[in-house]
């Protein structure tokens, strides 16, 4: 993966699979992808994991654990969630077994790649105090074993691109950079969106268009394989690939475009930056605040949220202290602490901060919205607050004195 490639501004026009009703046009659009794709029979999927292992990667992939699909260490294709599917709705996530041999017939687990690159809790540096009171500071050493992740969805790739820009453009975060450097991505074009998904509306999916080394489409009997980088072609050469048939390609394309069409949720299509900052006193902020528990689940599962808090953890003997950072949330009380008072004392301030940042001021910072349409914040909200509904309610002028702001 080279950073200059993934750091391109992400608001550039990208082909949006499934949003085009003209099939001829859509087929033309996809021709470039289809020429490159080959076919890997299902029983040969293990060769992908073997090749990644041989090339020295720590390989992560989807595994069922604790009732959820999570990216965990995985060396055997048999560990994949074969036959599992997910049902998601506001405040609800359940796995169930279906009569299917497919391993990727689900939408999203609770976490994207974020915890593997931007660690939920880690030491930044350590200080040691000598008997004379002198201090010595040592930066935390970072493990540099390259990772490969199999099964990354387009929404999560878009989020990764945003986290790359946040932690690597300008001042580079050393821990993030070290983990990111060797990352090998096997994307998966999504054919199974959940009820909470809206990546077609944000323009980030369901097709993975860039930022991957390999991309797969899952069919009943195997996988179509596309390459997206020189490293990806190197791995592909080790796989027992066969030419893909036109029928297989058409099937894969149809599944991707159907995945876009099945999505029922969407964000309002207007300029949300202007709309939200023009409605800072909209009465709906109070309505959503009355339901919001300010628990921070939404920010914890959001693949683009980057806030983190730093704190010192001294060891009991007093001779050293670890300077840690851990994920923080704009819903927490301490997030807006400023010498003895809170900038955002009430839940309405905090929800408004989250939404105006995610959908509004991200445009100032990154040239695009901070939402990639993965829908995790909807599923994992304990009271089922739905970002698409809240944004729609606030951007409507109901209840606004004098109409539009």
């Amino acid at each position: 993966m080279n950073f200059t490639q993934v750091n391109k501004p992400c608001d550039a026009a990208v082909p949006r699979a499934g949003t085009c009703d003209n099939l001829t046009g859509e087929n033309k659009l996809m021709a470039g992808h289809m020429e490159e794709s080959s076919y890997l029979p299902r029983q040969a999927l293990q060769t992908l994991f073997d090749t990644l292992k041989t090339q020295g990667f720590r390989t992560l992939g989807p595994v069922v654990r604790d009732g959820a699909i999570q990216y965990l260490d995985l060396t055997d294709a048999g560990q994949l969630p074969s036959g599992w599917t997910d049902e998601q709705s506001p405040g609800r996530y359940r796995l169930s077994k279906a009569e299917s041999v497919r391993c990727f017939a689900w939408a999203t687990g609770p976490q994207a790649l974020k915890p593997y690159l931007f660690s939920a809790r880690e030491t930044l540096w350590r200080s040691e105090r000598g008997p004379n009171g002198h201090l010595a500071f040592t930066a935390q050493t970072i493990e540099r074993r390259p990772m490969a992740v199999v099964g990354v969805r387009a929404c999560d790739l878009a989020a990764l691109e945003l986290q790359d820009r946040h932690f690597l453009d300008g001042i580079r975060d050393p821990a993030y950079a070290a983990r990111r450097e060797g990352l090998f991505i096997v994307a998966l074009h999504c054919s199974h969106p959940a009820d909470i998904c809206f990546c077609a509306s944000t323009g980030d999916g369901p097709r993975a268009t860039r930022g991957f080394d390999l991309a797969l489409s899952e069919l009943d009997d195997g996988y179509l394989v596309e390459t997206g980088s020189e490293r990806g072609r190197g791995v592909a050469r080790q796989l027992p690939l066969q030419p893909a048939t036109p029928a297989q390609r058409q099937q894969a394309e149809r599944e991707i475009s159907d995945a876009a069409k099945r999505q029922s949720r969407e964000l309002p299509s207007q300029n949300l930056r202007e709309a939200l900052f023009g409605r800072l006193e909209h009465p709906h902020w109070d309505k959503v605040a009355a339901r919001c528990l300010a628990c921070g689940n939404c920010t914890n599962v959001c693949p683009t949220c980057f806030c983190h808090a730093e704190q010192d953890v001294p060891e009991l003997g007093g001779a050293s202290s670890e300077h840690m950072r851990e994920w923080d949330s704009c819903f927490s009380e301490g997030h807006s602490y400023l010498h003895g008072f809170l900038v955002r004392p009430e839940t309405r301030h905090r929800y408004r901060q989250w939404l105006t940042h995610k959908l509004g001021s991200w445009h100032d910072q990154f040239g695009r919205s901070g939402c990639v349409g993965c829908g995790r914040c909807i599923t994992w909200c304990p009271v089922g607050i739905d970002i698409t509904q809240e944004a729609t309610a606030i951007c409507s002028d109901d209840g606004m004195p004098g109409g539009a702001a």
């Binding site: 930044l124 002198h134 730093e310 900038v343 301030h349 408004r352 100032d364």
Partner: protein
């Protein structure tokens, strides 16, 4: 280079400025050169406790001493208050975008501060007095809640005696014998002989005070683009990563702390931002 790693600094001097405000003179023990612009800040680290962003009051290139004036409010600043000369702390910086000293060349400068807002702003005064011929008239307006909160009194008296410098002080609550204005610092604007077209304003203090001061100076003819504010927010990383200091799309630590007024004006004074 790890952008989060502090350097060791020794406390070379300590002054108690008021019951809860103190000044530390710090010297980096690695003796490596350190340069900063007026208005920038450092992260000061108290061993075993944490870091706080503190503006740089002054830096002496000859002896390597960096001066920071701090109010003891939270656990880190209260801990720093208890340190003595010779104690060691961590320091990293300088961070942020400072005062527009380039834009101010050849112009009259109006410095308006409230409370401890004088600390991030005193570097403006030092810079102008060091390069006196490069700048026009200097007005220094400082407001405090209570006259007890006023630090650097003798310094204001020295500045007030200088040619082409005007010093005006205000206190909401005044002790007996107070010669300054009783009331808001913004009421002092009427006593300025402003030439708005050649003036640039630099403001630092509580947000509502900055809001009122910027409005007041703009109403007296200073262009919005010639008014600058130094903002304050929770800062933990100082490099635009941790997210706490955001005001709308601005990261105060990286894009500020000094902003042209129009850049922060839409959200200034709105509760919750």
């Amino acid at each position: 280079m790890n952008p989060y790693l502090p350097r060791e600094a020794e406390i070379a001097g300590r002054t108690q400025e008021s019951p809860n405000t103190f000044t530390l003179e710090l010297r980096l023990t690695d003796r490596q050169p350190y340069d900063f612009e007026p208005g920038q800040f450092n992260m000061l680290y108290l061993y075993g406790s944490g870091e706080v962003p503190i503006s740089i009051v002054a830096g002496n290139r000859d002896n390597g001493v960096l001066t920071h004036t701090i109010r003891a409010l939270g656990h880190v600043t209260n801990g720093l208050a208890a340190l003595k000369v010779g104690d060691r702390i961590g320091l990293r910086g300088p961070y942020g975008r400072g005062w527009p000293m380039q834009e101010a060349l050849g112009r009259d400068v109006v410095v308006v501060t409230g409370g401890l807002g004088c600390a991030p702003s005193v570097s403006i005064i030092h810079h102008i007095l060091t390069h006196r011929e490069r700048y026009g008239h200097l007005s220094i307006l400082q407001g405090v809640k209570h006259t007890d909160d006023l630090i650097w009194r003798s310094q204001y008296e020295v500045w007030a005696q200088m040619a082409d410098v005007k010093v005006l002080l205000a206190a909401d609550v005044a002790e007996p014998g107070w010669h300054g204005h009783v009331g808001m610092v913004t009421a002092l604007f009427d006593r300025l002989q402003l030439e708005p077209d050649r003036s640039i304003a630099m403001i630092c203090g509580p947000e509502m005070m900055m809001h009122a001061a910027a409005d007041g100076l703009h109403n007296r003819g200073i262009g919005a683009d010639s008014i600058y504010l130094s903002m304050e927010r929770n800062m933990q990383c100082a490099v635009g990563h941790c997210g706490h200091c955001q005001v709308g799309g601005q990261f105060v630590c990286r894009d500020g702390p000094v902003f042209p007024w129009p850049q922060v004006r839409p959200l200034l004074g709105i509760r919750g931002f």
